[in-house]
């Protein structure tokens, strides 16, 4: 459905996207993952025929971007990052405007309008000014606008950013539903989101694709480090250093007082050693768990320059 070949974007001497190629078959929900500034938004904007690529080709539903950019736009429903809408328009008024510029024929407008209002749960606010809506509602208006012309492809740039947890759950459910009859590209840096919604993940860093596969395949194939969480009571001050000395432990992070996370090389179980150390030093061991490598680990490993686990706060917020 979407065919991207050697797509590059250069601003003067800065290469933002470097020869990116991928294919998205019909009906797939693809997660686009990467740190801020990795080139996700630029790539999406090029696919949507907003920014002209420096080189490379894009085909959406059989239409070549270089030959027919408006044809490509007509086949994509796009939800930009930080959806900006016209605050002075009413929801229904705005959606009618979108329908008109998307080329929806006049006789189809009432039906499409009813469909998107219902689908995005906007029927109650159809007469409200967009400027008075909450961020969650505005996001849904953006999504409704992206759906109004029945596009086969949906491109969503960080659709859940800035929403409260309840709104995030609703939008995710909606995206999963939409994924049943649309081909979707979704960019995000929230990892659980990818695992919940996407069948396939592309990890992009510094303008390049660094990984491509299902979330499961990525987890098992790429992760080098796993994590062991240790909680100690009555531990002395040297605990952190002693834990770090255990063979196989790459790094120790202090999560809270007496709570540590150990980064461990593949396959090595250090729990035995930790337990032994606790007995020896008379510490009270209240937690000792080894976690399965998460997509987060994979992501961080692939997108961090040095091969170390990054700072604690980054791990926490993903």
């Amino acid at each position: 459905m979407i065919e991207v070949q050697q797509l590059s974007k250069r601003y003067f001497d800065r290469e933002v996207v470097r020869s990116v190629s991928f294919f998205v078959p019909e009906g797939e929900v693809l997660g686009f993952l990467g740190p801020n500034g990795a080139g996700k938004t630029t790539t999406m904007r090029m696919i949507c025929a907003y920014l002209p690529p420096t080189s490379g080709t894009v085909k959406v539903a059989g239409v070549d971007l270089a030959e027919d950019p408006l044809g490509v736009r007509a086949r994509i429903g796009y939800l930009p990052e930080n959806v900006a809408l016209y605050p002075e328009m009413r929801v229904e008024e705005f959606l009618r405007f979108r329908a008109a510029i998307e080329g929806v024929s006049r006789k189809d407008v009432p039906e499409r309008l009813a469909y998107v209002l219902e689908r995005c749960m906007l029927t109650d606010v159809r007469r409200q000014l967009i400027g008075t809506l909450s961020k969650g509602y505005r996001q849904r208006v953006g999504l409704a606008a992206a759906l109004i012309h029945k596009p086969p492809v949906l491109i969503l740039d960080e659709p859940t950013v800035g929403l409260d947890p309840r709104q995030i759950v609703k939008i995710r459910e909606l995206i999963v539903e939409l994924g049943r009859d649309h081909t979707v590209i979704l960019s995000t840096h929230i990892l659980p989101e990818v695992e919940q919604i996407c069948q396939r993940v592309l990890i992009i860093d510094d303008g390049r694709i660094v990984a491509d596969g299902t979330p499961d395949a990525l987890r098992t194939g790429f992760s080098g480090l796993s994590a062991v969480t240790v909680e100690l009571e009555a531990a002395d001050l040297g605990a952190e250093e002693l834990l770090a000395r255990i063979a196989g432990v790459e790094k120790v992070e202090r999560l809270a007082a007496g709570r540590f996370q150990l980064a461990v090389r593949d396959g090595k179980s250090v729990r035995r050693e930790v337990f032994r150390l606790a007995v020896e030093r008379n510490w009270l061991l209240t937690e000792l768990t080894q976690s399965v490598p998460s997509l987060e680990d994979v992501f961080l490993r692939l997108t961090t320059r040095e091969e170390t686990l990054p700072e604690a706060e980054e791990v926490q917020h993903g």
Partner: protein
């Protein structure tokens, strides 16, 4: 065509749902009303030479130009600058519409709003007509001149709005550019070289309005504003293609 009209309509909705439209409308009517009163009072003085009052109202005084030089940038400043600042431009230009359609749609909306500003001045014509007989020819030609001037001024405003991200900056640039566009033709009175004088007379907007207000419809007075508007709209389109996404 449907898409272009959709853009024009949306822009008109934006005009009339913002307080700015009403402020501009009020100020415009206030100043024009004052000027009209001034002209009538002036012509009522027995010592002044008899003259058609509408000829003075349509470009015959400095007030006309001062007002337009201020009002048009205020009308056009928002058009593209605001879309870029808020990011709505991205949504607009990922719909199957061209930069040209966006520029033209916004320009037409601004022009229609400008014409709307002039609509209440028909009351002056009605007032004058109730006291004296009025020759409809020069009046119609005067309005035509105003409409053409609107094309030229609005296109300059659209262009500066396509370059700036900030509305106020767009307005100030438009004002500066319009002062230049307006003054260039007046240099005609200062030069003696006949070729240059001829060229400058072509751009003399004061004479442009004066001719129309006298009822003189000359094709070159039609061609100049239309072609300059075309040029600025083309430049706006190119500017939009370059600046989007930044």
């Amino acid at each position: 065509m449907g898409k272009l009209w959709a853009i024009v309509k949306r822009e008109l909705i934006a005009y009339f749902s913002s307080p700015l439209a009403y402020v501009v409308l009020t100020a415009f009517l206030f100043v024009n009303g004052f000027v009209f009163w001034l002209i009538v009072a002036y012509l009522n003085d027995p010592r002044t030479r008899a003259m058609a009052p509408l000829r003075l109202l349509f470009g015959g005084t400095m007030y006309f130009w001062l007002l337009l030089l201020f009002v048009v940038p205020v009308i056009t400043m928002r058009l593209l600058a605001e879309e870029r600042r808020t990011g709505t431009l991205e949504l607009l230009l990922t719909a199957p519409v061209t930069e040209g359609q966006v520029v033209l749609g916004k320009f037409l909306a601004a022009w229609l709003f400008y014409l709307f500003l002039w609509l209440p001045t028909l009351a002056y014509v009605a007032i004058l007509a109730s006291y004296a007989t009025i020759d409809p020819g020069p009046v119609a030609a005067g309005y035509l001149g105003i409409a053409l001037l609107g094309l030229l001024f609005a296109s300059v405003g659209v262009f500066t709005s396509s370059l700036a991200k900030n509305q106020i900056v767009a307005a100030i640039f438009a004002f500066a550019a319009l002062v230049v566009v307006f003054s260039v033709g007046l240099v005609e009175n200062l030069v003696t070289n006949p070729a240059l004088k001829n060229a400058l007379s072509y751009m003399n907007l004061w004479d442009h309005m004066d001719d129309f207000a006298k009822g003189l419809v000359d094709t070159r007075r039609l061609v100049y504003p239309v072609s300059v508007a075309g040029l600025f709209l083309f430049l706006s389109m190119k500017a939009l293609e370059t600046v989007k996404g930044r």
